[in-house]
């Protein structure tokens, strides 16, 4: 199941989208989320869809893979589509089945909302699929830098995030180990009624928490010994480089927004 999930997964590559600076990608996605709401007629929604497909194409991530990985989201999408068709009662009736009338406006709304939803999910997935978590963290840190003025601990937040990301696989391994250890002692995690299964999780979580705290303490000591004393006077090993490609990417987005503005009704 985990294999197919693509939320938050990173797929290494060297496509145009992969090589972009995380800052430009982040700004792009956030701006795009706002721009999406400019669309309000058939032409603009078609443009949105085409633009998104272009980005998918540029990221060299197979469309099939993307759709397959987003199956649960697409189910939700179909559901909202049906709701719209059933409950919007405006415009001409285009289909009359006696017990059910489908209105023109309902169909239109259903399609529009679905497209809006789809492009948002696609764009954000492309962001996480083409950018390693650590780059996203770097990007966020730099973008939030101005907020240091209002005493937001930007560096600390970014470091916390990167350490959390770094420890996910470690803790996953640990969970697996504890699970096997408990199974070897006869605990059954996969059978029985829900109540029993939830109870069986407790002896799994307690050792995990204990070891996580131990790890945190060790890590803090190691960091201190290696000279960590906050963000003050620290240099960065990961350098972000703003390229002409990044400017091009943002310029395209601006152009696209203008296009939407012209064609929206």
């Amino acid at each position: 199941m985990m294999e197919k999930m693509i939320f938050g997964r990173y797929i290494p590559g060297n496509s145009y989208v992969h090589t972009l600076d995380p800052r430009s990608k982040l700004v792009f996605v956030f701006a795009f989320i706002i721009i999406v709401f400019l669309a309000n007629n058939a032409v603009t929604y078609a443009l949105l869809l085409a633009f998104t497909l272009l980005v998918v194409l540029l990221s060299r991530i197979r469309l099939y893979f993307l759709i397959n990985g987003l199956k649960p989201v697409i189910l939700l999408l179909v559901f909202t589509f049906i709701i719209h068709i059933l409950f919007t009662r405006e415009g001409d009736v285009i289909l009359d089945l006696g017990f059910l009338k489908i209105y023109e406006e309902g169909l239109k709304q259903g399609i529009f909302i679905s497209i809006r939803f789809l492009v948002l999910v696609f764009m954000t997935s492309i962001l996480t699929l083409t950018t390693s978590p650590i780059s996203i963290t770097d990007g966020i840190e730099v973008l939030l830098n101005p907020l240091k003025k209002v005493k937001l601990p930007v560096h600390e937040l970014a470091l916390m995030m990167s350490i959390a990301l770094r420890f996910i696989p470690t803790l996953m391994d640990e969970t697996d180990k504890i699970m096997k250890a408990q199974m070897a002692r006869g605990s059954d995690l996969s059978a029985g009624p829900m109540k029993d299964r939830i109870k069986a999780v407790v002896p799994l979580l307690v050792p995990l928490f204990v070891s996580a705290f131990k790890r945190a303490e060790d890590l803090a000591t190691a960091m201190e010994v290696r000279g960590y004393r906050g963000g003050e006077g620290r240099t960065r090993y990961r350098q972000l480089k703003w390229d002409w490609k990044d400017s091009l990417c943002l310029a395209t987005l601006v152009l696209f927004a203008v296009l939407l503005f012209i064609y929206r009704s």
Binding site: L165, P169, T170, K214, R215, A222, V225, G227, R229, Y237
Partner: protein, 281 residues
Amino acid sequence: MNEILSFNNVSFSYTPDIKDSRKAVDNVSFSINEGEWIAIVGHNGSGKSTLVKLVCGLLFPQDGEIRVMQNVLTEDNLWETRSSIGMVFQNPDNQFVGATVQDDVAFALENNGVPFEDMVERVHLSLKQVKMDNFLNHEPHHLSGGQKQRVAIAGALAMRPKLLILDESTSMLDPQGREEVLQTVQTLRDEIGLTVLSITHDVEEALLADRILFMNAGKKYAEGTPQEIFALGDKLVEFGLELPFATRMTNLLQSEGVQLVGQHMTEEELVNDLWTSNFNK
């Protein structure tokens, strides 16, 4: 010879307010000169880990003074002192800060404000020194324990430390990983004259040292070359320390009536002695 580290009558207790409580480190004195390899051995609770915490200023002694590079360690020069000491801890996972190998090696450099260009060069060089230069972008969970410890050594080396402290660094590794790490440390010591302080209860690791400090109940029980220390024999066993395999073998052979002279630290010495033992008759 330059003195790198010295303890002068250092005492430390975790509970200084309670009268007559046992001290974790009790009146310990020793010194390490440049280029030496010192091993501190002792069973659990002998105070050896507390000793390490005192060296890098995680704890401060109640009595006595610690000098690092001939400067007395105080809270004021704590950070400079730390930047001249490299440390490798026990658990390979819990000291890996960066998301990838190169980020982790750069961590101490970032903390000390080393400029970017300089950093890149140092990271590559120190990874080459521990032969991990092909793993620049690997994530920690794709490395073996031995590899992670070598990365930790590289992270320490990047700061060009005067002293490398191994705090039971090999105790969580498989035999192969242990061999890798010890080999790396030996090479470094031969090539760049690194001073090493290793805390261990692995006797084979202790044998690599020039001098061994034997700790028991917070006190320095004995100090000397590996030969001198392991000649204590039964005393060590009494304090919960194992003898090297060759020494145990010698003792067993002697009790079976085989004529063997003296102590043997390594298998090679024992074998040599065994096949020549009848020549002088």
